[in-house]
Structures are given as C-alpha cells and as structure tokens.
C-alpha cells in the first residue's frame, strides 16, 4: 500500500513534469521557434523597444529555453527573483510564474481564485451526486413507468442544455419568478457564511443540473445492469427485504463506476468551471484563465494549466485509492 502510494505519487510528479514541459513548450518555446518574439505577447499595448527589452530580461527570454524551463521548475520549488538589474521582483515559492500584466505572482492569483472554484465545485458536486444518484435509482426501479420517462426526459434536457441557458433560466425562476433567492456576487465563506450560501445556490444548481443529468442516466443504466446480477438474485433468495437488496447490495455496485466519473469530473471542475463562473460573474480559476487568455497573460495561463492538471491527476489518484476501498478485489500493487 505504501509502496503503491509512493509509486503513484511519483507518477503524479512525472505526469505534471510532462504537462509542464508541454505547456512550457507551447507558451515559450514555440513562439521562439516560429520566430515570433514572446516578449511581444507580454508587452500589452505598449510595444516600444525599451519595454520589450525590459520584458525579455524579466522573463529570462535571453536565456536558452532549457535553462528557462529549469528556472521555472526551480521557481515552483524554491521561488525565484525576477531581477532586471533595475527592479527586482521576488516571487516566493511555490512560484508558478509572475504576471507582469497585473504585477502579481501567479500563485497569489490562484490562491485567491481557488476558494471560489472550490466552493462552486464542492457544493455542486454534493447536489449533483445526491440528486443524480437518487433520480437514477428511482428511475431504474420504476423502469418503463411514467416516472422513469419523465425523469429521463429531464435528464436528457439537463445533458443537452448549455450552462448559459440554465444559468439564465435558473435565476429567472428562482429569483424573479419564485423570489426564493437574491442575485448576489460571490462572498467568501469566511466573511459571511449566509451570504456565501445565498450567492452559491444558483451556480450550484445550474452546474449540478448538468452533471446530475448525466449521473442520473449512468446510475439508471448501471442500476439496471446490477439488478440483473446473480448476487442480487442471491440476496433476494436469502429473503432480504427489497430495501436492503437495493440499498446495500445494488447501490454499492452501482456507485463504483460513478466514482471514476466523479473523480474526473470533479478534478476537471477544480481547474475552473468556466461557463458557470462566467455566467454568474464569479472570479474563479476558469474566469481567470479566460481573462488571461484574452490578455495574453502567459504566466497565468500556464500556472492555471498546471494547477488544473494537478487537480485532475490527484483526483485520479484518489479515485484509484477509493476503488480499493469500495471493491475488495482491487489490490493496490
């Protein structure tokens, strides 16, 4: 188990290194190879030579790419200084780069954004897992009934409707129609839990709707498959009540494939729920990435890319560990 964990963590690091090499290559090496000046991308509107020269020194574009990469990796571990000889900017570890557009270390920006994205992803995840699994189970048990058909049409809608649509309809119904909620901006949990909750509900519901629909469909299909398993027949032959058969025997098996899905979905979301964040004007990692792309703020794009990769890889690792807990046949070796 420990050996397994160490090996997997080693894999995580290796994966992230590969991702970092690739992203670094795309953002820093490719422009150099194609002959365009990466400094131009950092210059913003002002492209006079002095400004470009300053950027080149700051970003280390005067050094070979391999060395730039090593400095970047070293920065994550030990921090780095952007020293132009005139003006020195310290970027403390973990330094995922420094945004010269906003004059902030990328890590600070990400730290600022993570709680938003995490709030969004966590809350939505709780809703969609509960709602998705519950409706999926009901649908499976009431197969071919009106309930089943209604739920599945709803699920199809959920899968098909884009976030920006549900993101518009949800407030229209919940805020303006029913008056249950107020429109509000993201408020940190630590500042005002009530306001945080109020600000989160709509985005949660919107985001969860999309996933809940998928989860309901998968749960239904898996549940139907599991109900046909021999061991379910055995459980019934033992005289267990239908409740125990479903809740204990069928559900546990049904959840197994969902865990994998959930790991990937959740890990991906932590990298930023771009559409939801945009729709609700949340300043999360997703909107930060989009803004950075719009502004050509490469260090931020790269930092968030790496962070998102880290989330996905870690989520995968956790899913694999969880698998061993759920299914005793899986051995972590």
């Amino acid at each position: 188990m420990l050996v397994y964990l160490i090996r997997r963590l080693f894999n995580v690091v290796a994966t992230l290194l590969v991702v970092s090499v690739v992203t670094f290559g795309i953002f820093f090496a490719v422009p150099k190879i194609t002959g365009s000046d990466p400094a131009l991308m950092y210059a913003g509107r002002e492209t006079n030579e002095t400004a470009l020269a300053g950027i080149r020194v700051k970003m280390g574009f005067d050094k070979p790419i391999s060395e730039q990469y090593l400095i970047f990796v070293k920065g994550i571990v030990a921090g780095r200084d952007y020293n132009t000889g005139v003006d020195s900017t310290h970027c403390p570890a973990p330094c995922f780069g420094y945004s010269f557009k906003t004059e902030t270390p990328v890590w600070d920006l990400m730290l600022d954004r993570i709680p938003v994205t995490l709030s969004l992803a966590l809350g939505a995840a709780v809703i969609w897992v509960i709602a998705g699994v519950a409706t999926g189970v009901v649908s499976a048990l009431k197969r071919r009934t009106a309930i089943d058909r209604t739920v599945m049409v709803g699920a199809l809608a959920g899968v098909s409707l884009p976030i920006f649509f549900t993101g518009m309809v949800a407030p229209a119904v919940l805020v303006y129609g029913l008056g249950w909620l107020d429109v509000s901006n993201y408020r940190p949990l630590t500042e005002d839990p009530g306001a945080w909750l109020n600000s989160m509900i709509l985005p949660w519901v919107t985001l969860a709707f999309l996933f809940a629909a998928t989860y309901a469909r998968i749960t239904r299909a898996t549940m139907l498959e599991v109900l046909g398993e021999d061991y379910i027949r055995t459980a019934r032959a033992k005289g267990l009540t239908e409740r125990v058969v479903i809740r204990k025997h069928a559900l546990r098996s049904t959840l197994t494939p969902l865990v994998t899905m959930f790991g990937l979905d959740f890990g991906g979301l932590l990298g930023g729920a771009v559409l939801t964040e945009t729709t609700f004007s949340f300043q999360g990692l997703g909107t930060a990435a989009v803004a950075a792309i719009g502004a050509g703020d490469l260090p931020v794009i790269m930092g968030i890319t790496l962070l998102a990769a880290l989330f996905v890889v870690m989520a995968n690792l956790i899913v694999d560990m969880l698998y061993a807990v759920i299914d005793p046949r899986v051995r972590l070796t």
């Binding site: 009431k142 033992k238 005289g239 005793p328």
Partner: protein, 366 residues
C-alpha cells in the same frame, strides 16, 4: 386452469388426505416480451416429500431454472413491469405460495426454502466478505446479535468443510477457490435449516473431483437436516446417484418422470434417450463417442406444434398420420401396475414400440 386443454395427470403422491410437502400443480410461467409470450414453463406438476431428492433435468431453456425461481417466489421481486405471468399452484407445506402475500413469501425465502446457485463467484456479492453474507442471511430470519450470528457462520463454514473457518469467515468470495465458494454458498443456504433446498446446477462451474465432493456434501447435509432437495441440472450424471426421482423437462414441460431407477434404466422418451447418450459414464468404453441430442432447443415463443421434441426426434415419423406434428402427447403412465415408482412419459409412440427401440437400439450403444 380450465383454459389449458392438456390433460394433467395426478402424479404419484402419498396416501389421500395427507398433502405432500411440496406440491406443484400445472405451473405456468409466461414472460411477456416485445417478440411475444415466452412460455418458459407451461403446465408442470410434481410432488416432493421431505428427505427426498428430485432431480430436474433438461437442456438450458427447458424451463427448469425458471421453475425453481417460481417456487422461490423470486419472479415476484424486482421491477413490476418485467415480472412474468404465473399461474397454477405451488404448495409448500400446505401453503399456496403463488397466491400468498409477497412479504410472507419473502420471509419463507432463505428460512424455509433456500437456494444454491450455479456460479458461486457471480452469485455472491464481490464487495462483502463471505461471513458477512452468511451472517446477513442468518440475521434476516433470526433475532440474534452479530456475535452469535458470526459464531453460527463459522459453524456453518466448518460444517461444509471449509478449513480454518474462523479465519476464512472474513475472506472475500474472490479469495476462495471455486469449490470453496460453492461450499460457502451451501453454508449460506443452509444457515437457517431450510426444509426445502433447491440447488440449481450446483456443480456445473466446478471441476469433476470437486463436483463429486460438493454432491457428497449436499447428500450428507440432506440426511442430517432431513430437507427436501430439488437438484436442477442439465447433466443426468449429476443426479444419477443423488436423486430419488427424476423429472425430465423439454420446452417448458415434463416429458418423462419417474424414479431414478426407472428413468435411468427404462427410459421411455426419445429425449431422455438422447440425454443418456450424451452422458459421460465411467463404465463406458472410452472409444465410444458421446452422442449429443441433435438440433437446438425449441423457441419458447413458437413452440413446435404437436410434440415439442418432434423436429429433433429421430422417431418422429414412427407414429402414423404425422400425429407427432399436430397433436401434443400427454403424460401417461408407462405401466399402470407399478407402485410408488410410477413412471410417466409423454410420447406418441406406443409403449411396445418404445420398449423395443430402447432395448434393441439405444441401450446396447450406451
């Protein structure tokens, strides 16, 4: 069941006035599907007494497993839309299980009647320990604490011959060998001392040596607990030594029924001959090849008219006038003079003809 045109003979039974322990009468299990009605069991009747073993033999799709599930009431669980239509009677200890309250039948399941399934690997939940699953079966019907239930589980594992039962009780099914799993399965089925044990192909997934061990085990346990046993198999060999009575099913119906001795040594149905021909026997000359029953089992949606076996029967043209293709043969007594070993079969050929074919053509080749 007046709408059933076929004649249902009274099977052999105990003296009038005392009901048999298990009595199945004109059992029909029909599954409605998009393609039509699947008549898995179409008018089956038999009796079984405590301490006796009935072997139900037939190819896959002959309705033998469906019969066992119908007795257990397992067709009544799960999604209402996929439940079959069941009619006829299944009386266990005087109670009609078909018409009984579902919750009542559930309480009988696992306690009064238990079942052992074919593939113990898929029939046990992979995520729970063997002990857990036995304890669960026990505590569902007995008001005992976990500790007592665990003691009982270990006791049962010990009884079915699992070494180090106190240790293995915490193992998962996948950590057991095939034979061990089947033993555990049996332990689980017997944990509540059921009066009826249905074993559905209990040895099919196992190798020959282990098969014999498991069969021995079931026989021993039956003696010890005095249960009635239904042994369902496609392999006559399995029931040869175990069963008191044998019922041969084809196309959802009984084609031959009688004491094991009769069915084995004086079979009176061409299908039974086929089964016997395909049975591996220790005393058979190794150079002889097995003779499988030619052709495929019938579609249960469009059962052949006349005798269901007629498309595969080498003797289909023996009775005159194509009667085998137009009229369904009834179960009739082979020899009315016989006693408790009453022997029934459903074939259009005359008794004489069949006796002749058996003694002259079939038996010598076996």
């Amino acid at each position: 069941m007046t709408d059933n045109p076929s004649f249902v003979p009274e099977p052999a039974g105990p003296a009038p006035g005392s009901e048999p322990f298990l009595s199945v009468r004109d059992l029909q299990v029909h599954f409605p599907t998009d393609d039509g009605l699947v008549k898995s069991v179409d008018g089956l009747s038999f009796d079984l007494e405590r301490g006796r073993t009935l072997g139900i033999v037939g190819e896959s799709g002959s309705g033998k497993s469906v019969t066992s599930l119908a007795i257990m009431g397992l067709h009544r669980t799960g999604n209402a839309r996929s439940r079959p239509h069941i009619s006829g009677e299944v009386r266990l200890d005087g109670e009609d299980l078909i018409r009984a309250d579902a919750e009542h039948v559930r309480k009988l399941r696992g306690r009064k009647m238990a079942m052992v399934f074919q593939d113990p690997l898929s029939a046990m939940h992979p995520y729970y320990t063997v002990g857990h699953q036995i304890i669960e079966a026990y505590r569902t019907h007995q008001d005992v604490d976990k500790k007592k239930a665990r003691t009982r589980a270990i006791e049962m594992l010990d009884r079915v011959g699992i070494p180090e039962p106190a240790k293995r009780v915490d193992a998962y099914p996948h950590e057991f060998s095939g034979g061990m799993r089947q033993r555990a399965m049996i332990a689980m089925a017997l944990v509540n001392n059921p009066e009826l044990l249905i074993a559905d192909e209990p040895t099919t997934a196992l190798d020959v040596t282990v098969q014999a061990q498991i069969l021995d085990l079931i026989r021993d346990l039956q003696k010890e607990f005095g249960s009635a046993v239904i042994m369902i198999t496609h392999d006559l060999g399995v029931v040869a030594e175990m069963a008191d009575d044998i019922l041969v099913m084809y196309g959802g119906r009984c084609v031959e029924r009688g004491s094991a001795e009769k069915v084995f040594y004086e079979p009176r149905h061409p299908y039974t001959w086929g089964l016997l021909g395909s049975m591996p026997r220790i005393d058979r000359d190794q150079t002889d090849r097995l003779i499988p029953v030619k052709g495929a089992p019938p579609s249960l949606i469009n059962i052949p008219s006349g005798c269901a076996f007629n498309p595969r029967c080498p003797y289909a043209d023996v009775p005159k006038g194509g009667i085998t293709r137009t009229q369904r043969p009834e179960l009739t007594l082979v020899d009315a003079a016989e006693g408790a070993d009453r022997h029934w079969s459903a074939c259009h050929m005359s008794q004489e003809e069949r006796t002749r074919i058996w003694t002259e053509e079939i038996a010598p080749k076996l």
